[in-house]
Symmetry: C2
Subunit: 191 residues, 2 copies
Amino acid sequence: MLNTFKKHVDKFAQVSNDEFDEIKKFFDTKGVAKKENLLAEGQICRHHYFVLEGLLRKFYINEKGIEQTTEFAIETWWMTDNIAYEHKLPSEFYIQAVEKSQILSITQDNQEKLVQAFPVMERYFRFVYQRAYAAAQMRVKYLYSLSKEEFYFQSVERYPEFAQRVPQYLLASFLGLTPEYLSEIRKKRSS
Amino acid sequence: MLNTFKKHVDKFAQVSNDEFDEIKKFFDTKGVAKKENLLAEGQICRHHYFVLEGLLRKFYINEKGIEQTTEFAIETWWMTDNIAYEHKLPSEFYIQAVEKSQILSITQDNQEKLVQAFPVMERYFRFVYQRAYAAAQMRVKYLYSLSKEEFYFQSVERYPEFAQRVPQYLLASFLGLTPEYLSEIRKKRSS
């Protein structure tokens, strides 16, 4: 299972097997049940999560008391509330498993110790954040330029596996649509 | 002027003055006139820009032929089209000086050579991307949870200097409002 992580590190940084044996000691491996929360609103955000297997989502509860999903993470994606994690602050978000998942987790202190001990991991995390930031920038562009319907169809096209795995009501929440309306536009498209 | 950059590096990484003298050779310093483009749609995105003094914006031209501003950068902020920059692709964006500006620029090849020669700069860029990603995540949350009016007033509150420097018509474009409507809600607030 840890091989998923080793492969991801290898994409961006050169780490020998011996080094990796040391690096992995900074992480905990954890099984998470479907719908189990890894983080809840108001808790200090202490962990950064890497999905080995499964699917996580991040959401907050809006003024109307409704869960608003802002992000998903599938295999090899990292997830946390980044501002709260860096500054050890209470989070405004929940992080929850959508599927039964296997994850790696690291604390902020351990992540700092890790990059001090293995500066090559600065390179790894630099790439992780660089890619995540680039994706977030594209998302902002789509939020300006695409209708919710277009954004949905583009997401399905780009990440077909992802769109199949995410339950429709969560996809609707992520897109800011009602589940009924999403179902309608999907029918329209397929007819 | 380069002192602005040195101070920013010092916030995140430990670099001696001798090292900095070598590091700065990887960058070019450049004066940019007001409304001058650093990048235009269709051009290969070859540079990453750091604002020493002044103000940049990033925009694309939408289907209606209108400039849609998606981002601003003031002193000590980095700006590029990150996906196009990493993969040396043609950009969908323009980067333009809003004010007469002084910037540092680095090419993707030089940035790679820099971090190879000075691994401590991996740490610096890791922090730069980490902070930028965290800010982009908060922005996505605001796009879900705040009305355009609320987003405007929150931006003014958080970045008062920034809101004063950006011309109202650009701020309106960034917010997805018409300049007339922005002027209206500002009057309403101040009355």
